[in-house]
Amino acid sequence: MAEMLSGGDILLKALKDTGVEMIFGYPGGSALHIYDAIFRQKDIKHILVRHEQGATHAADAYSRVTGEVGTVLVTSGPGATNAVTGIATAYMDSIPMVVISGQVMSHLIGADAFQETDMIGVSRPVVKHSFMAKSPEEIPEIIAKAYYLARTGRPGPVVVDIPKDVTAPHIKVVYKYPEKIEMRSYQPVKRGHAGQIKKAIKAILQAKRPVLYVGGGAVLGNASEQVRELAEILNFPVTNTLMGLGVIPGEDPRNMGMLGMHGTYEANMAMHHADLILCLGARFDDRTTNATAKYCPDATIVHVDIDPTSISKNVNAHIPIVGPLDSVAREMVNVFKATEKRPDTDALEQWWEQCHNWRAQHGLFTHPNHEPSKGSMIKPQDVIKMLYKVTNGDAIITSDVGQHQMFAAQYYHFNRPRQWLNSGGLGTMGYGLPAAMGAQFADRDATVACVTGEGSIQMCIQELSTCTQYHLPLKIINVNNQALGMVKQWQDMQYEGRYSESLYEESLPDFVKLAEAYGHVGMKITKWEELEEKMREAFAMTDRLVFMDIQVDPMEHVYPMQIAMGSMRDMWVNKTERT
């Protein structure tokens, strides 16, 4: 006779059979049967965070580093609602994640019971799909479907809500894991339309001023190798979105850097003047297009994306291709391998000369937009450059949201995909530290650095305690400008310097003591001349979390910055010059 199991044990067994190795979570009343089942098994490791938001970001980062689905477990009510920010973060960046939430007992649903929230309803706009388990028998199939949905097609978070009685120890049923998952209403596309790919090839062959525009889809779709080959075989200039950093090596000569609001001068100029934009897995987000009415006026746009809704949503695609990027890019590479035909090489040479000229004029590294650091004036840009130097460009970098995020994206050369983790779509302050934890759990040998600011770090600072519990030797780079830097930059540029609620005055904690209170190492760095030595010292402590509180120039702005309502080429290149 088949073994009879409770809903709680069935859940854990189903998770194991799905391949789950780690859960990030926080217990509470409605989830206690599940937690008891966790206690009684050894296959899946549970990581106890300090706030449910931390669990979701950690699972999200775990997924970004490994490519697997991240798993979160929270209780009902506040546990569930605290997870919503992290779910929305994952949703906006298409990160595969399954969030299991305890729910009040079935007979109490709708009764405004203690710690009751309609989690299915609350999370609905920020999930790929959601399920409620009504009986223990349903759990294995729901779990199998949840993970299948999370990782296939355009990935995203899936919520599984389980009322407490469904996991109760005294109700035991037969465990049966589905052999195969089939959903008649869900069939993700397996390859691009051959006719459309042919059209794209034709457009590519006619291009004289092409740009390869690469997004996060190339990371999520594991298409980095194919995209690199395509860039090489065509010798096209490449730009990437914030989410696409690392797909093409940062130091590759074809890499023009990030595009968009804080993109490089050369990338934005190239986009504006391009006659062909080959977009691979990006979604023409408003932060990358500036005003769509003035967007890249001469360009034929080829848009490859796995999600048909991303195509012609913001910018009309002339040649849309719906399909997985690895397969579509591979097909394109194969076409060019089989033929001698190439776009007009003379035209391409001229185009490259133009791109190099743009880079020489206002490139981030060829023509710095800020003064050099000196004495007690440490420039935040130089902090990132130093981080790159000290880590040999090899660290996994997480970031929070704001100026430091943009500086990290601009000045750290990411040479591989899944090396750069940030909340690109939702822009969630507080992401950095728990994400760094998730990254370190995903790769215990990696050097993981969290680039943050004194504003963002305080949004999830409680996770320093989790780092103590699990001995996570993270390196925190606190780019401390004593203000909400990006808010302040906008107030400088658009509100005549009226710093409405963006300054902390004398209220910031002593971060060194704070780190020490959690059992970590704290360092305060105030002089440019000591930055390299101290940073090296910190990274040499491979078994300790080191919190580097680095005092930077509070007046620095992020440049280039596109001018609102303008075209791609309309930018401030530094505080006084604009295009």
Binding site: P308, T309, S312
Partner: protein
């Protein structure tokens, strides 16, 4: 510039809990309007057929149908206004009727091929079916009367061809 037009969208979806809220949520979340909506199981009770009407231009309708298709529970989506189609709506209208009004309402109902399906000393309830414009016209025809209550089913539609919106 494309112009806004009335669209009738048919959606075949899993008859599963939460499905309807996902459709309705999608419309409010993305800023699309719903003019009418109805939903009921089909002959295959594991599937529901949903018909909704909206006014939008070509660009928006493309997004609406794509977004609906993206919902996991949705099996198929069709904008039936793209081709030849039939639409029907059902309306029950309760009108205050005293004295001469009774014959006047009866006459109007006959003209619109409606039926009086309930009657009281002071009122008639008339059932009318047809396309949305016909029902609007019937309400207009009773403009002089005191309409007590109107209930409309929302538009149901089906394409005029042997192609069907099925699995």
């Amino acid at each position: 510039m494309t112009i806004e037009q009335k669209r009738i969208i048919s959606v075949l979806m899993e008859n599963a809990p939460g499905g309807l809220s996902r459709v309705v949520g999608l419309f409010s979340q993305r800023g699309y309007n719903i003019d009418s909506l109805n939903v009921a199981p089909t002959n295959d009770t594991s599937l529901s057929r949903l018909t909704l009407t909206t006014r939008c231009d070509d660009l928006v309708i493309e997004q609406v149908t794509k977004q609906l298709n993206k919902l996991i529970d949705v099996v198929k989506v069709q904008d039936i206004t793209e081709g030849s189609h039939i639409e029907r709506e059902l309306m029950m209208i309760k009108v205050r009727t005293r004295g001469d009004e009774r014959s006047e309402v009866k006459r109007c109902a006959d003209i619109f091929r409606g039926q009086i399906i309930d009657v009281g000393p002071n009122y008639y309830t008339v059932l009318v079916e047809g396309d949305a414009a016909k029902l609007d016209a019937f309400i207009e025809a009773l403009a002089e009367m005191r309409v007590l209550e109107v209930v409309r089913s929302g538009v149901c539609g089906i394409a005029r061809s042997d192609k069907a919106l099925t699995l």
